[in-house]
Subunit: 130 residues, 2 copies
C-alpha cells in the first residue's frame, strides 16, 4: 500500500525527490537530503530516515556510522508532489561539521562576511578521523 | 561583493540551487523553491524572495500577482553549499492551493489515506480564476 503514496510523488529526471528535514521539537530546519523511491519506502517503514547519497551512490541511513540518527516522526509532501518534509527526533547533531543544523552559516548582507551561528556539538576531526 | 557569496554556492547541472522557505515567526516550513544565480542575487537584494520557475522558465517574485509575498528576513546556506534556507515574513499564505504551507498533506502511514492538515486561508478558485 506504500506504493499508493509513492505513486503520488514526482521524482526528478535522476529519480530523486528532495526531503527537508526538520527538528520535531523546535522546528529548526536541519538539512536537505534526497531520496529515490526505495529510500522513501525505507523512511516510511522507519524508524530512521534513509537518504540516497548522490555522491556515494548508495543508501544512507543517516547516523548509521556516527550514531547521529534521525527518528522519523511526521512526513508531509507538498502541493506539487515533488518535495517531502520530514519531522524527526535528531540525535546530537545533523551536520557532519559538528553543528546541530547544516544551515549554520548566515549571509548577513552582500558586502558582509558570512557569520557562523550556533555552537559545535562535537569535533568532526575527533569523530571521523580516528 | 554579492558575487563572493554566490561563488561560494554550488548550483546543479541545471544551474539551480534549492531554497527552503521558512516562516520567521513560527518556524513553519512553507515551501521548497529553486533559484539560479540571478534569482539568488535578486533575493539578496530583497525585499522579496525571487525564484526561478522551472515550469514557466522565468523569474518569479513570489506573490507578484497574488500579493502573497515573502519578505526576506534571514538567509543561510548549508555545509555542502548546495542548499539555501530563507526565513521570511509570509503574507497570507505560501501555497497556491490556499494553505499557509505547501506541505499541507500528511502521510499517516503506509496503509492509511493522506490527511489534510491546516485550514484553507483563501479559495484558489476565486483567487486565480476570476
Amino acid at each position: 500500500m506504500s506504493d499508493t503514496i509513492i505513486k503520488k510523488l514526482k521524482f526528478d529526471d535522476k529519480g530523486l525527490i528532495a526531503a527537508v528535514i526538520q527538528d520535531v521539537d523546535n522546528n529548526e530546519v536541519l538539512m536537505l537530503g534526497y531520496m529515490n523511491e526505495e529510500a522513501v519506502r525505507r523512511t516510511l517503514k522507519g524508524p530512521y530516515v534513509t537518504f540516497w547519497s548522490r555522491s556515494r551512490r548508495k543508501y544512507w541511513v543517516k547516523g548509521e556510522t556516527s550514531g547521529h540518527t534521525q527518528e522519523v516522526k511526521e512526513i508531509y509532501f507538498d502541493c506539487d508532489q515533488d518535495a517531502l518534509l520530514i519531522k524527526v527526533k535528531q540525535n546530537i547533531a545533523a551536520c557532519h561539521e559538528g553543528y546541530r543544523t547544516c544551515f549554520f552559516r548566515k549571509i548577513e548582507g552582500e558586502d558582509k562576511p558570512v557569520k557562523i551561528v550556533g555552537q559545535r556539538l562535537f569535533d568532526p576531526e575527533k569523530k571521523y578521523n580516528k
